[in-house]
């Protein structure tokens, strides 16, 4: 009956998306661990094409970003937009469609990568049939999300919804523009752009996918779940809104910092560099907002393992958003580009920020969805230690190998010849790749513990039925039968 009742939030789709997200986390990170092991033992592909580095690596990135990340964002987006709009999801059936269709695309897309289909555009490797499917599902996601907001019963649109909304609109724009291509066969297409244009469009996409998905989308998660967990309002709501617009404005320009010293006009590179430096301000405004919000909630830390993940995720968010602008400076980038330093930066964001904030949110959310206690707080605490250790070890190893590589690539002897060859340098990096493998195993092990813990929490339980609480007078938005606001109460 729950499905039909318009006065009850549609939370079962949230549970399902969380389950899929955890599944992709386990699988995607397993691929990451495998790829990390191939750096040490290249023969781990056992002569199979589909196990080779070139195919497993995009599988890793797609599974973690689109499987784990986007499923988590859909789940938390659907959950929070209902609560902040005081209304059930718009077209719940369409939300279920998004849920399953998305998983199907990630699954088949992943298999197609293993089969060797690729557009060769990073983070947009999937070929044109998948691109079309993604665009359609994304539009449905937007209809559910914005439809819910349009039918809200409360006047203000809470800040988390701005970030989720930004995620939906900007990713749609980026994906469609970047994927425009001429199909030749089912598994092959040619991009509409060529040469330097292609590069610029690709990194306009690539960087803003980082910006509006891995940063903005997860900030939406943070802005809803952090105040909930801390039982505190956002420290400065005004700051959050200002930061949102500043963030949206500045991110869009920063893409070409991925193309420093490339065949793109120098002014394009310089603009990107300056805008990347500007980005530090809105990024850290949010950081301060988050840190100040939790700072009042310390008493909760004693009982709640979830909050610890969020606290540390803020520290790594601060690191990644500081490191990024610094690496965007051309004289730093000339050393860091083409090295493991970039990989370290990626994973300080991906593990320390994206994964940690999601884990903290899941530990908070899942018990509430089924009205039970978390199966084991001890396991969650152990997971925390593993996640922290794994992240730190990953970053330290990549910093050391990255900086060494940067120096060695560029070293010249007295005659001005390069001092070292590529293969020698890579061979010298083996010890770091060993450390990274250990780090990955720690992090992945923690993720497995979480999967077990959440599974045991969910097992045999039903999603609790929650209905929207009444809205206080000055904020209420009255609606007629058609869902159109009929009467606007003024404060």
């Amino acid at each position: 009956m729950q499905r039909q009742n318009p006065e009850i939030y549609e939370d079962r789709v949230v549970v399902r998306l969380v389950q899929f997200s955890v599944l992709w986390a386990v699988l995607g990170m397993a691929a990451g661990v495998w790829v990390a092991a191939e750096f040490l033992w290249p023969t781990l592909d056992f002569g199979q094409f589909w196990l080779s580095f070139g195919r497993l690596r995009p599988l890793h990135t797609n599974a973690v970003i689109f499987g784990f990340g986007v499923s988590a964002l859909m789940a938390t987006g659907f959950y929070s937009v209902q609560r902040t709009s005081h209304v059930r999801l718009f077209l719940p059936g369409l939300a279920w469609f998004c849920c399953y269709a998305w998983q199907l695309v990630v699954l088949l897309g992943g298999l197609s990568l293993l089969a060797g289909w690729t557009s060769s555009k990073e983070y947009a490797e999937l070929e044109w049939p998948f691109d079309i499917a993604i665009a359609l599902i994304w539009v449905c996601f937007g209809i559910v999300f914005f439809g819910t907001i349009a039918r809200r019963r409360i006047r203000p649109i809470y800040i988390s919804n701005w970030f989720y909304g930004g995620l939906i609109i900007v990713i749609a724009m980026l994906h469609i523009v970047n994927s425009l291509a001429l199909p030749v066969t089912l598994d092959k297409s040619y991009s509409l752009y060529a040469g330097a244009q292609d590069a610029i469009v690709q990194w306009w996409y690539g960087h803003n996918a980082v910006g509006f998905l891995l940063t903005g989308g997860f900030l939406g998660m943070l802005y809803y779940f952090l105040p909930k967990q801390a039982d505190q309002p956002i420290w400065s709501y005004r700051l959050s809104v200002v930061a949102f617009w500043a963030f949206t404005y500045s991110y869009i320009w920063a893409g070409p910092h991925h193309l420093h010293y490339n065949a793109v006009p120098e002014w394009v590179q310089s603009t990107a560099m300056v805008m990347s430096l500007v980005l530090l301000a809105p990024s850290w405004a949010t950081l301060i907002n988050g840190v100040m919000t939790v700072s009042k909630a310390w008493a909760k830390l004693k009982r709640d393992p979830a909050l610890k993940f969020i606290v540390l995720s803020l520290a790594f968010y601060g690191l990644a958003t500081f490191e990024g602008p610094m690496m965007a400076i051309r004289s730093v980038n000339v050393v860091s580009h083409f090295t493991d330093w970039t990989i370290g930066h990626v994973h300080s964001g991906a593990l320390g920020w994206n994964a940690m904030v999601t884990y903290g949110t899941f530990y908070f959310l899942v018990p509430r969805l089924v009205g039970a206690e978390l199966h084991s707080t001890r396991l969650a605490n152990l997971h925390f230690v593993l996640a922290l250790a794994g992240t730190l070890l990953y970053i330290l190893a990549m910093w050391a190998s990255g900086v060494s590589q940067g120096l060695l690539w560029l070293s010249v002897d007295r005659l001005g010849e390069l001092s070292f060859g590529f293969r020698d340098i890579m061979a010298g990096m083996r010890p770091y790749y060993g450390l990274r493998l250990v780090a990955g195993l720690l992090f992945w092990g923690g993720t497995l513990l979480m999967a077990y813990n959440l599974f045991m929490t969910l097992r045999g339980r039903r999603t609790v039925a929650v209905s929207p609480p009444p809205v206080a007078e000055p904020w209420r938005l009255e609606r007629g039968a058609a869902g159109i606001a009929t009467e606007r109460a003024r404060a």
Binding site: V291, A299, S404, V412
Partner: protein
């Protein structure tokens, strides 16, 4: 002059009985604070000194077949910059922690903060003896346990010394860890910028 306290507080207490040091700091024992502060210059000097010596004698081994040598003059300049960066890092951390302390209800004088961070950074400084043999991976291996040790000291010691509940201490320590990560990566970034500008190893762009 508090000689008596000095005697029961040699350098090793700092490393191996930090709990006692923290309790004494919490009671704001003047002599104790002064005794600890006395180690600070040593701790700040140790890493650059070892780095300079190791770099000149052995050359930096980055994993390739041959070590990278710096000229003596260059090595000294780089080490002086390192010293400067460490001093800046240390005192800015103290200043930042005092500034943050207000939010977390921490109490303690400037000297107490200096002493607290002296204790916290002691394992890192001692581990920097590894710079004497500047093989990067060897240094990483030595530094990782030192980082863990220092972090444990920070999380355990901070709430005791600054008189705040452990949970609040956890938040403040994490905020500081965030800051220290940023400081560490800044050091990398500044180094890279200086190399590009021509200081340090011979690279061509």
């Amino acid at each position: 002059m508090g000689r008596g306290n000095m005697e029961r507080g040699p350098f090793l207490t700092l490393l191996f009985d930090p709990a006692r040091v923290f309790r004494e700091l919490a009671d704001a024992e003047r002599t104790r604070i002064r005794a600890i502060q006395r180690y600070l210059p040593l701790l700040l000097l140790l890493p650059p000194a070892c780095a300079a010596l190791g770099g000149i004698v052995f050359g930096w081994r980055l994993g390739a077949s041959e070590p990278l040598y710096l000229g003596t003059a260059q090595a000294v300049i780089v080490s002086l910059l390192y010293l400067f960066a460490l001093c800046f890092g240390f005192f800015s951390t103290v200043a930042l922690a005092r500034w943050m302390g207000v939010t977390y209800g921490a109490e303690g004088s400037y000297r107490v903060y200096v002493a607290l961070f002296t204790v916290v950074c002691a394992p890192l400084a001692v581990a920097s003896l590894a710079h004497l043999f500047p093989h990067v991976f060897f240094n990483v291996l030595v530094m990782i346990p030192a980082v863990i040790w220092s972090m444990a000291l920070l999380y355990r010691g901070l709430p005791v010394v600054l008189h705040i509940p452990p949970e609040r201490g956890m938040l403040m320590s994490s905020a500081l860890v965030g800051w220290l990560l940023v400081a560490a990566v800044s050091l990398l970034g500044i180094s890279a910028g200086l190399w590009t500008a021509g200081l340090g190893p011979a690279i061509r762009i």
